[in-house]
């Protein structure tokens, strides 16, 4: 690119920067969708309805917070949906032996952690590219679920296991929504206020420079894979509890939606930048869109077209806008 780089005389004021930010744009989109939906259906604004609407994205969004860290650090985990399937299968198998809810949660989270550790080990110890590794483990984890279950199904979860996917913690706040908001808050604090968060961003910008600055790159990445596995395990607990049954095809294709959420949230797919706030707003945008479509009886596969277009659009539009902007300013 032969564009001359000039330094502006003064930077935008902080309020102007806030106004121009990706998060502000997303928030605007969310408000518009909110408005359209409440016009389209008179029941949309009912608080219980809105609370219901959160169930279809909180599980994915919880993973998206962890995935955001991973993508900011320049890695990716495409095996998250397969981890959900394997963890759910493990919980189902244990539930058949009459185990209690605590054991099931322990098993679900444990399988998630183990899968995350396996991914992390392959990527950091053996220096393998995470895209291919997690395509492989995606096949492996879900394959193990198929080997265990075949075309069968696990049912018969204990009654109080339904708490995680169906109950409310306080007034309109379901357990799922509360956990997601909690994870997002903690994630946001870690990413934006701690040295660990700075290290994650540094690794995404340049792993080599980060290493020379004393960042233990491999260890940080390993922790991020662990966290993503754990988040997938938690999502598995909630999803299994919500559905009350396990099939090996559970959460099929969710990895795409989680990655879309993260990228839509303004996290650079090349690593190095992004905010948790953006991811949270993106989660709400996607949740509201799919829920709105659901109210209008749009089939799921048409929603997936929309999500695919959104994924491409949110990356292409800023590039297009920048190019048009550059052309206009050159002419002036």
């Amino acid at each position: 690119m032969s564009v001359a780089r000039t330094l502006p005389d003064r930077l935008d004021s902080s309020s102007a920067r806030l106004f121009k930010s990706w998060e502000a744009l997303l928030l605007l989109v969310a408000v518009v969708i909110f408005g359209v939906n409440s016009f389209a259906s008179p029941h949309f604004l009912d608080p219980w309805n809105l609370s219901d609407a959160t169930f279809n994205f909180t599980e994915k969004a919880t993973i998206a917070v962890a995935m955001a860290f991973l993508i900011i650090a320049g890695e990716i985990d495409l095996s998250v949906a397969a981890i959900i399937a394997l963890a759910s299968t493990a919980m189902g198998a244990v539930a058949q032996t009459g185990a209690g809810t605590e054991t099931l949660v322990f098993v679900g989270l444990g399988v998630g952690l183990l899968c995350g550790a396996f991914n992390g080990l392959l990527v950091t110890r053996f220096q393998l590219p995470s895209i291919v590794v997690t395509i492989g483990t995606m096949s492996l984890f879900r394959g193990l679920a198929y080997v265990t279950l075949g075309d069968g199904v696990y049912k018969g979860y204990p009654a109080d296991f339904a708490f995680f996917g169906q109950e409310y913690v306080w007034s309109y706040f379901s357990f799922e929504l509360t956990l997601f908001l909690g994870v997002a808050l903690v994630g946001g604090l870690i990413l934006h206020t701690t040295s660990f968060g700075r290290q994650v961003q540094a690794i995404g910008n340049s792993p080599l420079a980060a290493r020379f600055s004393g960042v233990r790159v491999e260890r940080v990445k390993f922790i991020l894979f662990l966290a993503t596995g754990l988040a997938a395990g938690a999502a598995s607990v909630m999803l299994t509890s919500r559905l009350g049954s396990t099939r090996p095809s559970i959460a099929l294709g969710w990895e795409l939606e989680v990655v879309t959420m993260v990228v839509l949230g303004g996290v650079s797919i090349l690593g190095g930048s992004g905010t948790i706030l953006g991811v949270v707003i993106a989660a709400f945008v996607m949740g509201l869109v799919t829920f709105g479509f659901g109210l209008m009886n749009v089939p799921g596969i048409v929603m997936s077209i929309f999500i695919g277009l959104m994924l491409i659009g949110v990356i292409a539009l800023p590039i297009l806008a920048r190019r048009i902007h550059a052309r206009l300013t050159r002419r002036v």
Binding site: F126, V132, L270, V302, L309
Partner: protein, 323 residues
Amino acid sequence: MKNLLARREGLLVIALLVLLVVIASRFPDFLAPRNLAGVFNDTSILIILALGQTAVILTRSIDLSVAANLALTGMAVAMLNAAFPGLPVPLLILASLAIGLGLGAINGLLVWKFGIPPIVATLGTMTVYRGSSFLLSGGKWVNAHQMSPGFLEWPRAVIAGLPVLSWIALLVIGLAFLLFTRTPLGRAFYAVGGNPTAAVYTGIDGGRTRFMAFCLSGTIAGMAGYLWVSRYAVAYVDIAAGFELDVVAACVIGGISIGGGIGSVAGAVLGALFLGTIKNALPVVQISPFWQMAISGTIIICAVALNARAEKAKGRLILRSAT
């Protein structure tokens, strides 16, 4: 360098032979020429898709939309055939190539003109193409009785002992070999993936080369769409769901480096044959087909680990000769 590549393909040949011997030790009939030809025919579509994917991966990209492209093109061609049974089959094949090319070009443009990372662009188009197949068909199936006899019989016709489907695979292998090793475009694939900066200095347009790779992969996926629909005599929205992973797996097993610039036609073909043999052998040795997914996952991980080791060795060699 040449030795290293030769060795990796050699390793694959040995692995394939060992696999065959193990299967044959319990089921000697598996090695009957008739059965082996059947395995090859069954793997043909995977082989040609893997060759298209190879071009893309060589340029440091990835095309996850091939299976969705296959499904959309297959559906479009099947519906054309059902609506106008009079259309000659060659015309339908041309249509499948054109539709596939168009869908591949969209991927290519997104990567070239908008600078969208290939994995994101094709993840997006993957869902869009698959969804469009639903919009096109309204979720309905096109069944065998709606397709014309010519449409169904063409890939099955036997010429010199092999079905046309197998001959198409052999033809694509030959053309891919010529393209990758004997043409400027083929060398450009390697150059752009091997060292993008150096490629620019030698006058190669990286974006355009990637665009061409996506067009190639798309065209091949389109053709595979016709072949798939006609071979299985049915078209519906979910055909070949998840097949893109098998295609990428075949490439990775074949030693095509996901980092770009390394790989060969022989590798891709052997990788696809390795997967195809396992898939065909599982029912023969009476292992539940549900194992297939876990096995291919394990093989992908092992293959990636092997590739990484080979590439690391190459890196050291360069350093040593430089000092």
